[in-house]
Symmetry: C2
Subunit: 315 residues, 2 copies
């Protein structure tokens, strides 16, 4: 194993980059802009340039680089083919081949960003002592990643870990971004929690401080009010936890992970959220799956660069 590697996490606005020792230490991290114009044609060359500048700055030769891992906001097949990344303007192509060519044939491993973040948490974060984990990222949407024996499970068409799109409610009338109705994401994401809060206010006349915040209410507001024992907010958190805990029980009878790791912006609600979810999970789960832990993620926004590095190191 060579001495260094890079972990790259490509988002629609910025690209996060980390320089790692292959022993596992993060040596440096920084960000560059994601230039999405012209179908995102500059994104890979911008990253390439940034990596080469860092290598010059640190006096690192190409021969000392084990490889570059890259997480991308879209489905990625095991052979490194992206099927399209809407937020980057990309269509289908083999990222590993193209990026490796740009880098002078340094090895490249590509993965879906939610899967890569899950690998990061499995390697150095909330799941570092667990064999098999499922990470659930509660952000604008609900992302997920399945790590089995330290490896990302990609699935046949890159759809493994997409538990944000598990159907949880046959009676939902609003459409999810994916085109279906009643996906977990519609209830357990930051926007989902806000939707539930607004629905509560529309259909319930009980007093709740949520009303004072009106249309600007955020998921954080809902959790803060629930912690302060506002009955309406507590009800909304309970609803959200019901959907999420039941989805986890369905995941559990499929793969029976050792731990669920909960990350993303909504997870800043902390142990209060974990307790609410774990309670529902343990009420509904199949007995053999009852020993799964439910834990907070630990790496925050760095999970992606850690996981990207891990793809290269652990290959």
């Amino acid at each position: 194993m060579k001495k260094y590697c890079f972990g790259v996490d490509v988002g629609g606005t910025t690209v996060k980059i980390g320089l790692f020792q292959t022993e596992g230490e993060l040596l440096d991290k920084w960000e560059i802009m994601t230039r999405t114009e012209n179908s995102g044609e500059n994104i890979l060359s911008d990253i390439c340039q940034s990596l080469q500048e860092k290598m010059r700055e640190k006096g690192i030769a190409d021969e000392e680089i084990e490889g570059v891992g890259i997480g991308l906001p879209g489905p990625v097949l095991d052979d490194g083919t992206v099927l399209g990344c809407v937020n980057l303007g990309w269509n289908k192509f083999n990222v590993e081949e193209k990026f490796s060519h740009l880098l002078g044939n340094i090895k490249v491993k590509a993965g879906n960003d939610a899967n890569v973040a899950a690998l990061g948490e499995s390697w150095k974060g909330g799941g570092k002592n667990d064999r098999d984990i499922v990470m659930i990222t509660l952000g604008t949407g609900v992302g997920g990643g399945v790590i089995l024996n330290g490896k990302i499970l990609t699935g046949y068409n890159g759809g493994a870990g997409e538990i944000g799109h598990m159907n949880m409610n046959d009676d939902e009338t609003e459409k999810c971004n994916c085109g279906q109705y009643g996906c977990l994401e519609q209830y357990a994401s930051a926007t989902g929690v806000v939707r539930l809060a607004k629905r509560y206010m529309e259909t319930n006349s009980s007093p709740t401080k949520m009303r004072e915040l009106g249309n600007d209410i955020t998921a954080k507001d809902v959790f803060d009010l629930a912690k302060a024992k506002d009955a309406g907010a507590e009800h909304v958190v309970k609803q959200m936890a019901e959907y999420l805990g039941k989805a986890m029980a369905a995941v559990a009878v499929t793969i029976n992970p050792q731990a669920f790791i909960i990350g993303g912006g909504v997870s800043k609600a902390g142990q209060y959220l974990i307790d609410a979810i774990a309670d529902v999970y343990h009420t509904h789960c199949f007995q053999a799956c009852s020993r799964a832990a439910v834990r907070l993620a630990e790496l925050g926004n760095d999970a992606g660069i850690y996981g990207a590095a891990a793809m290269v190191i652990q290959e």
Copy 2:
């Protein structure tokens, strides 16, 4: 790789045994009784004796046996520990160690019977051309097995693939054998289909030939009548397919398999059943998972001995 191996499938009534060439050919198969008395203390020694007799009969030496795979009706951890097999009278112990000792230190690999049958179908049956499959066995209960890259996924406590215990209905008032309410098994097993048929007859006054069969109605009757366009039976099959297809959609966003393989007694309804399930699955599944095939199992009652042999050969 040595020339021969055995695949053993232990049920509560009989033990099925197959002698295989490690190249994959089934040379001989037979059954012995399962003696469950005295906490099933004779089961392993009975099997051992039967294997040794067969080896004498065929003139096969210990040194020509690669190993013995054994499928068991209960959870089995990756290290060969059974957590208890109610139908055999067994408590927790390490089957691989004990059975290998009895066999004069021939290698033993143990697995849960539903998982082992799934491995058999993946190796030589309905999933032989697929990388990752989920097998669903519709029998008295609903069993399941997840095969990823040709290997059984066991899970942290042997609970992987237990999709018969996925919660599908919050309003269920009858208890599943597992202690929960609304498990898939309560609707998609042979007994589940009969339950749905009886419920239909109790709550619906429309004419249906199902009534002529009364309390003795079987899942096969329901499917036969549905194929003959009896509206009541068609309704029941549709209900059953709704539960099963939706459960498969939940499995799909977790692991995105290449194929679902449907086996067990209920699957004798054939392509009619597959079409009903696939229709629901494709209506509800997340887009990236829509290319999963839904297929019939092919090995019938031999899936277990094939899978048991595969555990030894493919290790």
